[in-house]
Symmetry: C2
Subunit: 227 residues, 2 copies
């Protein structure tokens, strides 16, 4: 990527847009841009250096591997999202995570935790933004979980679909085409259910006319009818 393009990416980012052109230029010397092809794996948990990443374009899924070797999708991340060591703390040793690109080309940008910390120290405005971003993430996650806990599987599935459609829909609310890059098993992990139940619900929603559904894509007829 050209230096100029990098500058504009960082400039557009909700986090870095508070920086002046000069500051951004200085910051540009540090980050590491990288392109990941579809299905390619990006390890970040047991890196030598603790890093934090932001996504310039494309979609990633974060897979977490537990002690027994079970892999579950933990999060779907899109352009602008943060992942990696964004809380500035140490990585948990007994938890293994990696990211997989699910769109054709995913461009990410990473910073060493220490470098970023130093930049934040020199720019309090950035610190506020950053804090808000982490706070927002906290709120989103805890909302997400309380949905999972208190609703039944059908509602959880509906909320998941709704959320997914909204994020892929770019402001549209009707006839959103969602590329089906998650298996029923992945979805089961995300809504805390089983593969069979997810299959069942997909067909139930299809028969109810809420979605069109093939193996390669899902068309959500109207986001507001879900949930």
């Amino acid at each position: 990527m050209q230096e100029e393009a990098k500058y504009w990416y960082l400039h557009d980012h909700q986090l870095f847009s508070v920086l002046s052109r000069e500051e951004n230029r200085a910051l540009c010397l540090i980050p590491n841009f990288k392109t990941v092809k579809k299905n390619e794996i990006l390890y970040f948990s047991h890196d030598d250096e603790q890093r934090l990443y932001t996504i310039k374009s494309g979609t990633l899924k974060i897979i977490s591997v537990d002690a027994e070797g079970n892999e579950t999708v933990k999060e779907i991340l899109r352009s602008g999202d943060l992942f990696g060591q964004y809380t500035f703390d140490e990585m948990d040793e007994n938890e293994d995570e990696y990211a997989v690109a699910v769109s054709d080309k995913v461009v990410i940008c990473s910073f060493k935790q220490n470098d970023f910390e130093n930049i934040v120290k020199r720019n309090p405005q950035l610190a506020i933004r950053y804090t808000k971003l982490v706070g927002f993430k906290l709120k989103r996650i805890s909302n997400n979980y309380s949905n999972l806990m208190f609703k039944d599987v059908r509602t959880r599935f509906a909320l998941f679909l709704k959320d997914w459609a909204i994020k892929e829909g770019n402001g549209q609310t009707k006839n959103i085409v969602v590329k089906n890059y998650l298996t029923h098993n992945d979805i089961a992990g995300l809504i805390c259910s089983t593969r069979q139940t997810v299959t069942l619900l997909f067909n139930e929603f299809k028969n109810a006319g809420l979605i069109d559904y093939t193996r390669s894509e899902i068309i959500v007829k109207d986001v507001h009818q879900l949930a």
Copy 2:
């Protein structure tokens, strides 16, 4: 509270200890110290001013009221914990929350969100600390929830008891006396189960010799035997 004592409280706090004595003194002019008596209610969600709070001493429970008027305990907070608008964002309108003191005297210290934001702007070191704190909270919450999601009720109850005992135990691991200020209903809300099931489990754990249990207090014989 004497000015000097306030300074030392803020100095000891994991968040504010990065500030120099001078900065802390300046900061001391802003916070609002307040004492809340047992069972007294502290509203903070629909305040005129958005505030964030830290607890100097004592224990609070956060109650959340949903649209149907159901009240559930959301969190138990202790000395040093943050609550209120600590993510710097706007309060959710459709969510009502308040705090209740569960120990005799709870001393809290509050800042207007704006004042705090300004202080952070002038002290980026504080921003890093603050981000770490929020990040830590994020991690704790998501751990908590994934326990809730993937374990059965018995395990959730055990983990809850363990956590509770550890927090009340001040480093002890055996024969921890926990004052029973939560009803079975409260606990049911926290571990996402029902009153009856909690009652059942208390008696089951008592019969198994893991705890001594009366209506006023719980004695956890050995923290490590739980979970």
